[in-house]
Amino acid sequence: MADKNNILDRYTAGARLNHWINAILMICLVLSGMALFHPSLFFLTDLFGGGTMARIVHPWIGVLAMLSFLGLFIRFWRFNLWTRDDSAWMRNVKHVVSGDEAKVPEAGKYNAGQKLVFWLMSILTILLLTSGLAMWDSQFGEYTTIDQKRLAVVVHAGAAVALLIVVITHIYAAIWIRGTIRGMTRGSVTGGWAWRHHRKWLREEVGKTK
Protein backbone atom coordinates (compact mmCIF):
# COMPACT_ATOMS: atom_id res chain seq x y z
CA MET A 1 0.00 0.00 0.00
CA ALA A 2 1.18 3.40 -0.84
CA ASP A 3 1.08 6.56 1.24
CA LYS A 4 1.96 10.21 0.85
CA ASN A 5 5.52 9.94 2.16
CA ASN A 6 6.55 7.69 -0.71
CA ILE A 7 6.62 4.62 1.51
CA LEU A 8 5.26 1.20 0.62
CA ASP A 9 4.10 -1.56 2.90
CA ARG A 10 5.95 -4.79 2.20
CA TYR A 11 5.42 -7.16 5.12
CA THR A 12 2.61 -7.47 7.67
CA ALA A 13 3.48 -7.73 11.35
CA GLY A 14 2.54 -11.42 11.19
CA ALA A 15 4.92 -12.08 8.31
CA ARG A 16 7.74 -10.25 10.09
CA LEU A 17 7.22 -12.17 13.31
CA ASN A 18 7.13 -15.42 11.38
CA HIS A 19 10.34 -14.50 9.54
CA TRP A 20 12.28 -13.59 12.67
CA ILE A 21 11.07 -16.58 14.65
CA ASN A 22 12.31 -18.68 11.78
CA ALA A 23 15.62 -16.81 11.64
CA ILE A 24 16.25 -17.26 15.38
CA LEU A 25 15.39 -20.96 15.25
CA MET A 26 17.59 -21.41 12.19
CA ILE A 27 20.55 -19.76 13.90
CA CYS A 28 20.09 -22.09 16.88
CA LEU A 29 19.90 -25.04 14.49
CA VAL A 30 23.00 -24.05 12.59
CA LEU A 31 24.94 -23.54 15.83
CA SER A 32 23.82 -26.78 17.50
CA GLY A 33 24.15 -28.77 14.28
CA MET A 34 27.52 -27.41 13.19
CA ALA A 35 28.79 -28.14 16.72
CA LEU A 36 28.55 -31.83 15.87
CA PHE A 37 29.67 -31.36 12.28
CA HIS A 38 33.36 -30.84 12.93
CA PRO A 39 35.57 -31.22 16.02
CA SER A 40 36.82 -27.65 15.67
CA LEU A 41 33.25 -26.42 16.16
CA PHE A 42 32.37 -28.70 19.11
CA PHE A 43 32.85 -25.74 21.46
CA LEU A 44 29.54 -24.41 20.13
CA THR A 45 27.77 -27.09 22.20
CA ASP A 46 28.58 -24.96 25.26
CA LEU A 47 26.01 -22.44 24.00
CA PHE A 48 23.38 -25.09 24.62
CA GLY A 49 24.67 -26.45 27.92
CA GLY A 50 27.12 -29.06 26.67
CA GLY A 51 27.33 -31.83 24.09
CA THR A 52 24.49 -33.95 25.39
CA MET A 53 22.17 -30.94 25.66
CA ALA A 54 23.03 -29.81 22.13
CA ARG A 55 22.29 -33.31 20.89
CA ILE A 56 18.95 -33.35 22.70
CA VAL A 57 17.70 -29.86 21.79
CA HIS A 58 18.79 -29.73 18.14
CA PRO A 59 16.06 -31.99 16.71
CA TRP A 60 13.34 -30.32 18.79
CA ILE A 61 14.41 -26.88 17.58
CA GLY A 62 14.39 -28.48 14.11
CA VAL A 63 10.74 -29.47 14.44
CA LEU A 64 9.79 -25.94 15.56
CA ALA A 65 11.82 -24.41 12.74
CA MET A 66 10.11 -26.64 10.21
CA LEU A 67 6.70 -25.52 11.46
CA SER A 68 7.69 -21.86 11.26
CA PHE A 69 9.15 -22.39 7.79
CA LEU A 70 5.85 -23.94 6.74
CA GLY A 71 4.22 -20.66 7.79
CA LEU A 72 6.63 -18.67 5.62
CA PHE A 73 6.11 -21.06 2.74
CA ILE A 74 2.34 -20.69 2.85
CA ARG A 75 2.70 -16.89 3.00
CA PHE A 76 5.19 -16.47 0.20
CA TRP A 77 5.05 -19.34 -2.31
CA ARG A 78 2.61 -17.58 -4.65
CA PHE A 79 5.00 -14.67 -5.12
CA ASN A 80 7.89 -16.98 -5.89
CA LEU A 81 6.54 -18.75 -8.96
CA TRP A 82 9.13 -18.71 -11.69
CA THR A 83 8.52 -16.67 -14.87
CA ARG A 84 10.22 -16.19 -18.22
CA ASP A 85 11.57 -12.83 -17.02
CA ASP A 86 13.23 -14.62 -14.13
CA SER A 87 15.20 -16.80 -16.52
CA ALA A 88 16.34 -13.71 -18.41
CA TRP A 89 17.27 -12.07 -15.08
CA MET A 90 19.31 -15.09 -14.10
CA ARG A 91 21.18 -15.15 -17.40
CA ASN A 92 22.25 -11.56 -16.75
CA VAL A 93 22.90 -11.96 -13.06
CA LYS A 94 26.45 -10.61 -13.43
CA HIS A 95 25.01 -7.11 -14.03
CA VAL A 96 23.03 -7.38 -10.82
CA VAL A 97 26.11 -8.42 -8.89
CA SER A 98 28.02 -5.41 -10.18
CA GLY A 99 25.13 -3.17 -9.13
CA ASP A 100 23.66 -2.43 -12.56
CA GLU A 101 20.05 -3.55 -12.34
CA ALA A 102 18.98 -1.51 -15.34
CA LYS A 103 20.32 -4.23 -17.61
CA VAL A 104 17.97 -6.95 -16.36
CA PRO A 105 14.16 -7.29 -16.62
CA GLU A 106 12.22 -5.36 -13.98
CA ALA A 107 11.55 -7.52 -10.95
CA GLY A 108 8.16 -8.09 -9.32
CA LYS A 109 7.81 -8.56 -5.56
CA TYR A 110 10.77 -10.93 -5.71
CA ASN A 111 13.59 -11.08 -8.21
CA ALA A 112 14.91 -14.35 -9.61
CA GLY A 113 17.71 -14.49 -7.04
CA GLN A 114 15.27 -14.21 -4.17
CA LYS A 115 13.04 -16.85 -5.75
CA LEU A 116 15.99 -19.16 -6.10
CA VAL A 117 16.81 -18.65 -2.42
CA PHE A 118 13.18 -19.38 -1.55
CA TRP A 119 13.03 -22.64 -3.49
CA LEU A 120 16.47 -23.81 -2.41
CA MET A 121 15.49 -23.20 1.21
CA SER A 122 12.22 -25.10 0.69
CA ILE A 123 13.89 -28.13 -0.88
CA LEU A 124 16.78 -28.22 1.59
CA THR A 125 14.35 -27.86 4.48
CA ILE A 126 12.41 -30.94 3.35
CA LEU A 127 15.67 -32.87 2.97
CA LEU A 128 16.79 -31.78 6.44
CA LEU A 129 13.47 -32.73 7.97
CA THR A 130 13.30 -36.22 6.46
CA SER A 131 16.96 -37.06 7.04
CA GLY A 132 16.81 -35.50 10.51
CA LEU A 133 13.91 -37.71 11.53
CA ALA A 134 15.77 -40.77 10.20
CA MET A 135 18.79 -40.03 12.40
CA TRP A 136 16.78 -39.06 15.48
CA ASP A 137 17.59 -42.31 17.25
CA SER A 138 16.34 -41.34 20.70
CA GLN A 139 12.80 -40.88 19.34
CA PHE A 140 12.56 -42.90 16.16
CA GLY A 141 15.61 -45.16 16.24
CA GLU A 142 13.73 -48.36 15.53
CA TYR A 143 12.04 -47.11 12.36
CA THR A 144 15.14 -47.04 10.16
CA THR A 145 17.88 -49.53 9.34
CA ILE A 146 21.52 -48.73 9.98
CA ASP A 147 22.10 -48.34 6.24
CA GLN A 148 19.26 -45.84 5.98
CA LYS A 149 20.72 -43.94 8.95
CA ARG A 150 24.11 -43.83 7.19
CA LEU A 151 22.50 -42.30 4.12
CA ALA A 152 20.52 -39.92 6.33
CA VAL A 153 23.59 -38.45 8.06
CA VAL A 154 25.28 -37.77 4.73
CA VAL A 155 22.15 -36.13 3.30
CA HIS A 156 21.61 -34.16 6.53
CA ALA A 157 25.17 -32.86 6.72
CA GLY A 158 25.23 -32.03 3.00
CA ALA A 159 21.88 -30.26 3.05
CA ALA A 160 22.87 -28.35 6.20
CA VAL A 161 26.04 -27.01 4.58
CA ALA A 162 24.15 -26.13 1.38
CA LEU A 163 21.46 -24.36 3.42
CA LEU A 164 24.10 -22.47 5.37
CA ILE A 165 25.61 -21.17 2.13
CA VAL A 166 22.15 -20.15 0.88
CA VAL A 167 21.49 -18.36 4.19
CA ILE A 168 24.81 -16.52 3.97
CA THR A 169 23.89 -15.36 0.46
CA HIS A 170 20.46 -14.30 1.71
CA ILE A 171 21.89 -12.31 4.62
CA TYR A 172 24.58 -10.67 2.50
CA ALA A 173 22.04 -9.61 -0.13
CA ALA A 174 19.94 -8.00 2.60
CA ILE A 175 22.97 -6.10 3.93
CA TRP A 176 24.31 -5.08 0.53
CA ILE A 177 21.01 -3.86 -0.92
CA ARG A 178 20.42 -0.92 1.42
CA GLY A 179 16.87 -0.33 2.52
CA THR A 180 15.99 -4.00 2.44
CA ILE A 181 16.26 -4.82 6.12
CA ARG A 182 13.70 -2.20 7.12
CA GLY A 183 11.21 -4.15 5.02
CA MET A 184 11.54 -7.04 7.45
CA THR A 185 11.97 -4.97 10.62
CA ARG A 186 9.50 -2.12 10.10
CA GLY A 187 7.44 -3.73 7.37
CA SER A 188 7.84 -0.92 4.86
CA VAL A 189 10.27 0.19 2.15
CA THR A 190 10.76 3.47 0.36
CA GLY A 191 9.36 4.07 -3.09
CA GLY A 192 12.89 4.64 -4.35
CA TRP A 193 13.96 1.21 -3.10
CA ALA A 194 11.03 -0.39 -4.90
CA TRP A 195 11.74 1.64 -8.07
CA ARG A 196 15.37 0.63 -8.01
CA HIS A 197 14.99 -3.06 -7.22
CA HIS A 198 11.38 -4.16 -7.73
CA ARG A 199 9.93 -1.77 -10.31
CA LYS A 200 7.28 -4.14 -11.55
CA TRP A 201 6.08 -4.64 -8.01
CA LEU A 202 5.96 -0.85 -7.51
CA ARG A 203 3.83 -0.49 -10.62
CA GLU A 204 1.51 -3.26 -9.42
CA GLU A 205 1.14 -1.62 -6.01
CA VAL A 206 0.48 1.77 -7.57
CA GLY A 207 -2.06 0.15 -9.88
CA LYS A 208 -3.91 -1.25 -6.86
CA THR A 209 -4.38 2.20 -5.26
CA LYS A 210 -6.16 3.63 -8.25
Partner: protein, 299 residues
Protein backbone atom coordinates in the same frame (compact mmCIF):
# COMPACT_ATOMS: atom_id res chain seq x y z
CA UNK B 1 34.97 -46.83 31.50
CA UNK B 2 37.07 -43.74 31.97
CA UNK B 3 40.45 -42.94 30.48
CA UNK B 4 43.15 -45.11 31.91
CA UNK B 5 46.29 -43.29 32.99
CA UNK B 6 48.39 -46.37 32.43
CA UNK B 7 47.40 -46.78 28.79
CA UNK B 8 48.58 -44.34 26.13
CA UNK B 9 46.22 -43.27 23.40
CA UNK B 10 46.68 -43.83 19.68
CA UNK B 11 43.49 -42.15 18.54
CA UNK B 12 40.75 -40.12 20.17
CA UNK B 13 37.35 -39.35 18.66
CA UNK B 14 36.70 -35.84 17.28
CA UNK B 15 40.25 -34.79 18.08
CA UNK B 16 42.57 -33.42 15.44
CA UNK B 17 45.77 -33.16 17.42
CA UNK B 18 47.73 -36.02 18.92
CA UNK B 19 46.93 -37.55 22.30
CA UNK B 20 49.56 -38.64 24.84
CA UNK B 21 51.42 -41.46 23.12
CA UNK B 22 54.98 -41.25 24.32
CA UNK B 23 55.10 -44.70 25.88
CA UNK B 24 55.54 -47.81 23.84
CA UNK B 25 52.87 -50.45 24.03
CA UNK B 26 52.63 -53.92 22.57
CA UNK B 27 49.60 -54.67 20.48
CA UNK B 28 47.39 -57.19 22.23
CA UNK B 29 44.68 -59.48 20.91
CA UNK B 30 42.01 -61.85 22.07
CA UNK B 31 41.79 -65.05 20.07
CA UNK B 32 38.47 -66.89 20.01
CA UNK B 33 38.87 -70.44 18.82
CA UNK B 34 35.37 -71.23 17.65
CA UNK B 35 36.25 -74.90 17.19
CA UNK B 36 36.86 -75.29 20.91
CA UNK B 37 33.83 -73.42 22.19
CA UNK B 38 31.16 -75.56 23.85
CA UNK B 39 28.64 -72.73 24.18
CA UNK B 40 28.53 -72.75 27.97
CA UNK B 41 28.24 -68.95 28.16
CA UNK B 42 30.63 -68.70 31.10
CA UNK B 43 32.26 -65.79 29.27
CA UNK B 44 28.89 -64.04 28.97
CA UNK B 45 28.30 -64.44 32.69
CA UNK B 46 31.83 -63.35 33.56
CA UNK B 47 31.38 -60.21 31.47
CA UNK B 48 28.20 -59.25 33.33
CA UNK B 49 29.88 -59.98 36.62
CA UNK B 50 33.15 -58.15 36.10
CA UNK B 51 31.45 -55.11 34.62
CA UNK B 52 28.61 -55.11 37.19
CA UNK B 53 25.94 -55.34 34.54
CA UNK B 54 22.54 -57.06 34.83
CA UNK B 55 20.53 -58.35 31.91
CA UNK B 56 16.76 -58.51 32.02
CA UNK B 57 15.20 -61.95 32.28
CA UNK B 58 14.02 -62.59 28.74
CA UNK B 59 11.78 -65.03 26.91
CA UNK B 60 12.71 -68.25 25.14
CA UNK B 61 11.86 -68.27 21.46
CA UNK B 62 13.30 -71.71 20.78
CA UNK B 63 16.95 -70.84 20.20
CA UNK B 64 19.88 -70.85 22.56
CA UNK B 65 20.77 -67.19 22.01
CA UNK B 66 20.07 -65.45 25.29
CA UNK B 67 19.38 -62.54 25.16
CA UNK B 68 18.40 -62.40 21.49
CA UNK B 69 20.85 -59.67 20.60
CA UNK B 70 23.67 -57.62 22.06
CA UNK B 71 22.35 -54.96 24.43
CA UNK B 72 23.75 -52.10 26.50
CA UNK B 73 24.24 -54.73 29.24
CA UNK B 74 25.25 -57.73 27.15
CA UNK B 75 28.56 -56.75 25.61
CA UNK B 76 29.28 -60.25 24.45
CA UNK B 77 26.76 -62.78 23.19
CA UNK B 78 26.98 -66.41 22.15
CA UNK B 79 25.26 -66.79 18.78
CA UNK B 80 24.19 -70.29 17.81
CA UNK B 81 23.68 -71.53 14.26
CA UNK B 82 22.44 -74.95 13.17
CA UNK B 83 23.55 -75.53 9.62
CA UNK B 84 24.42 -78.14 6.98
CA UNK B 85 27.96 -77.61 5.83
CA UNK B 86 28.88 -79.68 2.78
CA UNK B 87 26.25 -82.24 3.69
CA UNK B 88 27.25 -82.49 7.34
CA UNK B 89 25.25 -81.04 10.19
CA UNK B 90 27.18 -78.55 12.28
CA UNK B 91 26.34 -76.57 15.35
CA UNK B 92 28.25 -73.33 15.10
CA UNK B 93 28.73 -71.16 18.15
CA UNK B 94 30.28 -67.73 17.90
CA UNK B 95 31.07 -65.34 20.70
CA UNK B 96 29.94 -61.99 19.25
CA UNK B 97 31.11 -58.61 20.50
CA UNK B 98 33.35 -55.68 19.64
CA UNK B 99 36.23 -56.66 17.35
CA UNK B 100 38.49 -53.79 18.48
CA UNK B 101 39.25 -52.79 14.89
CA UNK B 102 42.60 -51.23 14.04
CA UNK B 103 40.59 -48.78 11.91
CA UNK B 104 37.49 -48.34 14.08
CA UNK B 105 34.41 -47.00 12.29
CA UNK B 106 32.79 -46.09 15.61
CA UNK B 107 35.67 -43.78 16.52
CA UNK B 108 35.72 -42.22 13.07
CA UNK B 109 32.01 -41.41 13.25
CA UNK B 110 31.90 -40.10 16.82
CA UNK B 111 31.46 -36.28 17.06
CA UNK B 112 32.24 -36.00 20.78
CA UNK B 113 35.89 -35.35 21.65
CA UNK B 114 37.26 -38.25 23.67
CA UNK B 115 34.06 -40.28 23.83
CA UNK B 116 35.88 -43.09 22.03
CA UNK B 117 39.59 -43.77 22.34
CA UNK B 118 41.89 -46.33 20.84
CA UNK B 119 44.69 -47.20 23.21
CA UNK B 120 48.11 -47.90 21.84
CA UNK B 121 47.68 -51.58 22.64
CA UNK B 122 44.75 -51.69 20.20
CA UNK B 123 41.78 -51.66 22.58
CA UNK B 124 38.92 -49.44 21.44
CA UNK B 125 37.15 -48.06 24.49
CA UNK B 126 34.05 -45.93 25.01
CA UNK B 127 34.67 -43.20 27.58
CA UNK B 128 31.06 -42.89 28.59
CA UNK B 129 31.33 -39.62 30.51
CA UNK B 130 32.21 -37.87 27.23
CA UNK B 131 29.48 -39.61 25.23
CA UNK B 132 26.60 -37.38 24.12
CA UNK B 133 24.36 -40.26 23.04
CA UNK B 134 24.01 -39.32 19.38
CA UNK B 135 24.27 -42.87 18.05
CA UNK B 136 26.82 -42.00 15.34
CA UNK B 137 29.05 -44.90 16.48
CA UNK B 138 26.20 -47.28 15.61
CA UNK B 139 26.30 -45.95 12.04
CA UNK B 140 30.08 -46.12 11.91
CA UNK B 141 30.55 -49.71 13.10
CA UNK B 142 30.72 -52.38 10.36
CA UNK B 143 29.92 -55.14 12.88
CA UNK B 144 26.74 -53.66 14.41
CA UNK B 145 28.14 -53.64 17.93
CA UNK B 146 27.47 -50.42 19.93
CA UNK B 147 24.15 -50.14 21.77
CA UNK B 148 22.65 -46.98 23.24
CA UNK B 149 21.31 -47.39 26.75
CA UNK B 150 17.67 -46.58 27.41
CA UNK B 151 18.66 -45.66 30.97
CA UNK B 152 21.34 -43.03 30.41
CA UNK B 153 21.44 -42.60 26.59
CA UNK B 154 25.15 -43.47 26.49
CA UNK B 155 26.75 -45.96 24.11
CA UNK B 156 28.08 -49.26 25.46
CA UNK B 157 30.07 -52.19 24.13
CA UNK B 158 32.88 -54.58 25.09
CA UNK B 159 35.86 -52.73 26.58
CA UNK B 160 38.13 -55.78 26.17
CA UNK B 161 38.39 -55.31 29.93
CA UNK B 162 40.70 -52.34 29.41
CA UNK B 163 40.68 -51.84 33.19
CA UNK B 164 42.02 -55.37 33.72
CA UNK B 165 44.46 -55.24 30.81
CA UNK B 166 45.84 -51.93 32.11
CA UNK B 167 46.99 -53.74 35.25
CA UNK B 168 48.31 -56.82 33.50
CA UNK B 169 45.26 -59.07 33.74
CA UNK B 170 43.54 -60.95 30.94
CA UNK B 171 39.91 -60.06 30.07
CA UNK B 172 37.34 -61.70 32.34
CA UNK B 173 35.95 -63.85 29.52
CA UNK B 174 39.37 -65.26 28.63
CA UNK B 175 40.07 -65.96 32.29
CA UNK B 176 36.88 -67.89 32.85
CA UNK B 177 36.61 -69.98 29.65
CA UNK B 178 36.71 -73.65 30.73
CA UNK B 179 37.98 -74.97 27.38
CA UNK B 180 40.47 -72.19 26.72
CA UNK B 181 38.62 -71.34 23.54
CA UNK B 182 39.42 -67.72 24.45
CA UNK B 183 43.07 -66.82 24.78
CA UNK B 184 44.67 -63.48 25.33
CA UNK B 185 48.16 -62.12 24.70
CA UNK B 186 50.17 -60.08 22.26
CA UNK B 187 48.73 -59.97 18.78
CA UNK B 188 51.85 -61.66 17.47
CA UNK B 189 51.60 -64.54 19.93
CA UNK B 190 47.91 -64.97 19.26
CA UNK B 191 48.54 -65.14 15.51
CA UNK B 192 51.23 -67.77 16.07
CA UNK B 193 48.92 -69.76 18.36
CA UNK B 194 46.15 -69.50 15.76
CA UNK B 195 48.50 -70.92 13.13
CA UNK B 196 49.03 -74.01 15.26
CA UNK B 197 45.32 -74.43 15.81
CA UNK B 198 44.61 -74.00 12.10
CA UNK B 199 47.25 -76.58 11.17
CA UNK B 200 45.63 -78.97 13.62
CA UNK B 201 42.15 -78.36 12.20
CA UNK B 202 43.41 -78.87 8.66
CA UNK B 203 44.94 -82.14 9.68
CA UNK B 204 41.53 -83.17 10.97
CA UNK B 205 39.97 -82.46 7.59
CA UNK B 206 38.81 -78.86 7.88
CA UNK B 207 40.52 -77.72 4.70
CA UNK B 208 39.30 -74.16 4.83
CA UNK B 209 40.14 -73.55 8.47
CA UNK B 210 41.68 -70.14 8.95
CA UNK B 211 42.14 -66.96 10.95
CA UNK B 212 39.60 -64.14 10.89
CA UNK B 213 41.55 -60.88 11.12
CA UNK B 214 39.81 -58.84 8.42
CA UNK B 215 42.17 -56.47 6.57
CA UNK B 216 39.25 -54.23 5.48
CA UNK B 217 39.28 -52.66 8.95
CA UNK B 218 43.05 -52.82 9.28
CA UNK B 219 42.87 -56.09 11.19
CA UNK B 220 41.19 -56.57 14.55
CA UNK B 221 42.26 -57.10 18.13
CA UNK B 222 39.64 -59.78 18.59
CA UNK B 223 40.29 -62.61 16.15
CA UNK B 224 38.56 -65.88 15.42
CA UNK B 225 39.85 -69.28 14.45
CA UNK B 226 37.13 -70.56 12.12
CA UNK B 227 36.74 -74.06 10.72
CA UNK B 228 35.17 -72.53 7.62
CA UNK B 229 37.13 -69.32 7.24
CA UNK B 230 36.12 -69.10 3.57
CA UNK B 231 32.48 -68.61 4.65
CA UNK B 232 32.47 -66.47 7.81
CA UNK B 233 28.84 -65.46 7.09
CA UNK B 234 27.58 -68.88 8.21
CA UNK B 235 28.71 -67.98 11.72
CA UNK B 236 25.57 -65.92 12.47
CA UNK B 237 26.37 -63.32 9.84
CA UNK B 238 30.02 -62.57 10.56
CA UNK B 239 30.83 -60.25 7.59
CA UNK B 240 33.12 -61.72 4.96
CA UNK B 241 34.95 -58.52 4.10
CA UNK B 242 33.97 -55.87 6.65
CA UNK B 243 34.78 -52.27 5.80
CA UNK B 244 33.64 -48.94 7.14
CA UNK B 245 30.64 -48.02 4.97
CA UNK B 246 31.65 -45.77 2.04
CA UNK B 247 28.85 -43.42 3.14
CA UNK B 248 30.50 -43.03 6.53
CA UNK B 249 33.94 -42.57 4.93
CA UNK B 250 32.46 -39.88 2.66
CA UNK B 251 30.62 -38.18 5.52
CA UNK B 252 33.64 -38.15 7.80
CA UNK B 253 36.38 -37.80 5.18
CA UNK B 254 37.83 -34.77 3.41
CA UNK B 255 34.30 -33.58 2.64
CA UNK B 256 34.01 -32.06 6.11
CA UNK B 257 36.93 -29.63 5.96
CA UNK B 258 36.06 -28.89 2.32
CA UNK B 259 32.46 -28.09 3.29
CA UNK B 260 33.68 -25.81 6.08
CA UNK B 261 36.02 -24.10 3.62
CA UNK B 262 33.04 -23.66 1.28
CA UNK B 263 31.04 -21.95 4.00
CA UNK B 264 33.99 -19.73 4.89
CA UNK B 265 34.52 -18.90 1.23
CA UNK B 266 30.87 -17.87 0.79
CA UNK B 267 31.22 -15.43 3.68
CA UNK B 268 34.54 -14.18 2.38
CA UNK B 269 33.21 -13.64 -1.15
CA UNK B 270 30.37 -11.61 0.33
CA UNK B 271 32.78 -9.48 2.33
CA UNK B 272 35.11 -8.89 -0.61
CA UNK B 273 32.18 -8.01 -2.82
CA UNK B 274 31.17 -5.37 -0.29
CA UNK B 275 34.72 -4.06 -0.07
CA UNK B 276 35.01 -3.73 -3.85
CA UNK B 277 31.46 -2.68 -4.78
CA UNK B 278 30.22 -0.91 -1.67
CA UNK B 279 26.62 -0.85 -0.57
CA UNK B 280 23.89 -0.70 -3.18
CA UNK B 281 22.15 2.49 -2.03
CA UNK B 282 18.89 3.98 -3.16
CA UNK B 283 19.62 7.28 -4.94
CA UNK B 284 17.63 10.51 -4.83
CA UNK B 285 16.70 9.93 -8.48
CA UNK B 286 15.13 6.60 -7.53
CA UNK B 287 12.92 8.28 -4.95
CA UNK B 288 11.93 11.01 -7.43
CA UNK B 289 11.17 8.49 -10.16
CA UNK B 290 9.10 6.48 -7.72
CA UNK B 291 7.21 9.54 -6.54
CA UNK B 292 6.53 10.50 -10.16
CA UNK B 293 5.37 7.00 -11.03
CA UNK B 294 2.99 7.08 -8.14
CA UNK B 295 1.48 10.40 -9.16
CA UNK B 296 0.83 9.15 -12.69
CA UNK B 297 0.08 5.50 -12.17
CA UNK B 298 -1.28 5.05 -15.70
CA UNK B 299 2.21 5.15 -17.22
Amino acid sequence: MSSLQSLDIRRRSATVTQSPSQREATEIAKLIDVSRCIGCKACQAACLEWNDLREEVGVNVGVYDNPHDLTENTWTLMRFTEIDVDGRFEWLIRKDGCMHCADPGCLKACPAPGAIVQYKNGIVDFISENCIGCGYCVKGCPFNIPRISKKDAKAYKCSLCSDRVAVGQAPACAKVCPTQAISFGTKKDMAAWADKRIADLKERGYKSAGLYDPPGVGGTHVMYVLKHADRPQIYAGLPKDPKISPLVEFWKGVTKPLALAGVGLAALIGFFHYVTHGPNEVQAEDEEAAAKARRTPAE
